[in-house]
Amino acid sequence: MARKTTATQTSIVTIVAWLIGFVMFFPILWMAMTAFKTEVDAYTMPENWWSTNWTLENFGIVQERSNYLRYVINTTIIAIVSTVLGLLFAIPAAWSMAFQAETKPSVAWSGKIWAGILLIAAAIAAAITLSVGWQLAERPLLGLLLILIIGVPFGYWIWTRRTTDKLLWMLSTKMMPPAGALIPIYLIFNRNGLIFKDWGAVDLRDYNLIDTFWGMIPLMMLLNLPIVIWMLYTYFKEIPFEILEAARMDGAGLWEELSRVLAPMALPGIASTLLLNVILAWNEAFWTLNLTNKYAAPLSFFISEYSSPEGQFWAKLSAASTMAIAPILLLGWFSQRQLVRGLTFGAVK
């Protein structure tokens, strides 16, 4: 029998919910209000909450000192391109995890399959060797052999795990504090680091990934890829596999199966995932502060410019922050239903 709630209970719950919502929203409200105050009033707290000279000067000063539009464009490019790129990888990955039978390697497989596995392992090993950039450049074959010895069994072990184990392993990479990966990634990105140095045969010192879209976009994509794959996987699991089998029987190849059948059916899920990824990429601060400077600097860098050694300019900082979060706040507001649906889908059958 459904629980009966009285009007009083409903009122109390509504009031409490609004209070909690207000408490959560309060920091943003305070920040937005501070953006419209003078610097002096911004320091005086909390007496002059309402009795203050409201002003728009902070926004003008912020726009004068830094080109807000450029930061918005940078952030938009990074957020959207990394999201689209991520979806291009994540949709096939989630499809494979959701719909392909888990196959254990078998000695009964043909020579072609084993040759393919070894070639892919060798390619991955070569990529790792290059990126790690050990002094094995002088003994490349030994390095390759070492990596094959480590890499192939590890790859095999990952491959033979259950899908849920693989997903958990992928998600676990998000559990590590980003600071732990900062140094290696900085070395990979930087001039004279691991890759962009003088190799003798070729000199890559003129290139690097610091403060470039070439660096930030793949990084943002890879950072959020586990979450995107996991979300898409939960959506795809809700789609009856028979429909995809029917498509196969109807002559659909892999591309048609993904684009004409799976994607349209999973569109709400893909849209939710896309929105979440855009928000995560837009709000990313740690990596952007450490790896960008000017050319690819997004809005998080823009905000940090107003937190300087000369002192805290609260009003201007608040104005910059308000301008930084305004676009994504609007996006979130208009897509909140889609977002909530996306995050809670599958929780209840």
Binding site: P240, E242, I243, D250
Partner: protein, 333 residues
């Protein structure tokens, strides 16, 4: 064109062997029904023919050509799924036309063929609707339309009527039978419902734990079951099977006699029993009796009868209709 052959087909899922080894020939134009209890491997066998599952060993031949390594889209087969598997985001028109679009047929031709298929299946008025706006029977017809529009070598049906109500099931059964007569294509039909099997099939393949128990026409299976499994599976109510003295005096380990081949008397007979339950269906009456020294037995009588629960009755089998089986459950010839 339309012959299908399975040669020593084995299917394993990891350590589990679902199909230990099947040899089967299906001639062009035959309506073959795979029937068996749940978990016997009939759907798996169908999916192996369709190419939706890979065989662990053995060969699948379609029109004499080895199709074992060929993908499902290239085998020239069409499948109708139990859950219809319609594309929910497409209209009926697009659903039926989808295979033709995949085959890169021109838009005009697609339109023509879709209209023709829709007319055949009484779907013309529903072409612009989505599957969610259709009834179960209509959805099933769309699924069939999607299959026939491809002009396939053979049709595969995986329990297509399971989700329909009883009356609709009877109607669709007749429609599928009419379709077979009209198209004269090979049809392989999977069902657990033996009434569907008996009424629709040219040939029935009875499966038991992945192996073929018997292949034959419906009446062959009904009148001459090769083994106890087929004898008990085919026929409703189930054949009565008896061990002990009744069997040994007839030179068998087990005998079987169908409920309609038992004579009932209130005076005398081979077996004495007490009526437990009487079911009146109008056209038939089923008497469930507890027989001394034998156990429960079922008798079918035409029309209405006078027996009532608690009554003593005497049962005598019609000797020419008694089936004899040896200790391995195989028919004694």
């Amino acid at each position: 064109m339309g012959s299908i052959e399975l040669q020593k087909v084995v299917k394993q899922f990891g350590e589990l062997t679902v199909i230990p080894g099947v040899d089967l020939k299906i001639a062009d134009g035959e309506f073959v029904v795979f029937v068996g209890p749940s978990g016997c491997g009939k759907s798996t066998l169908l999916r192996l023919i369709a190419g939706l599952e890979d065989v662990s060993s053995g060969k699948v031949l379609i029109d004499g050509k080895d199709a074992t390594e060929v993908g499902p889209s290239q085998r020239g087969l069409a499948m109708v799924f139990q859950s219809y598997a319609l594309y929910p985001h497409m209209s009926v028109r697009s659903n039926i036309g989808f295979p033709l679009k995949m085959a890169k047929v021109s838009a005009d031709q697609i339109d023509q063929k879709v209209k023709k298929a829709a007319a055949t299946l009484n779907l013309t008025d529903y072409l612009d609707r989505r599957p969610g706006q259709l009834s179960g029977g209509q959805r099933q017809r769309v699924a069939i339309g999607r299959a026939i529009v491809r002009d396939p070598t053979a049709f595969l049906f995986d329990e297509p009527l399971s989700n329909l109500d009883a009356a609709l099931r009877v109607q669709m059964r007749l429609e599928i039978a009419d379709l077979h007569h009209a198209l004269k294509r090979t049809m392989i039909y999977v069902t657990h419902d033996q009434v569907e099997a008996m009424t629709m099939a040219d040939k029935i393949v009875v499966l038991d734990r992945g192996s073929i128990a018997q292949v034959g026409t419906p009446l062959e299976l009904y009148n001459q079951p090769d083994n106890l499994f087929v004898a008990r599976f085919i026929g409703s109510p189930t054949m009565n099977t008896l061990n002990g003295a009744s069997a040994s005096k007839r030179g068998a380990s087990t005998i079987g006699v169908r409920p309609e081949h038992i004579n009932v008397s209130s005076a005398s007979g081979e077996w004495k029993g007490r009526v437990r339950v009487v079911e009146h269906l109008g056209s038939d009456t089923f008497i469930y009796a507890e027989v001394e020294g034998v156990g429960p037995m079922t008798v079918r009588q035409e029309g209405e009868t006078e027996q009532s629960p608690g009554e003593t009755i005497y049962l005598t089998p019609q000797e020419s209709r008694v089936h004899r089986f040896d200790q391995n459950g195989r028919r004694v010839v």
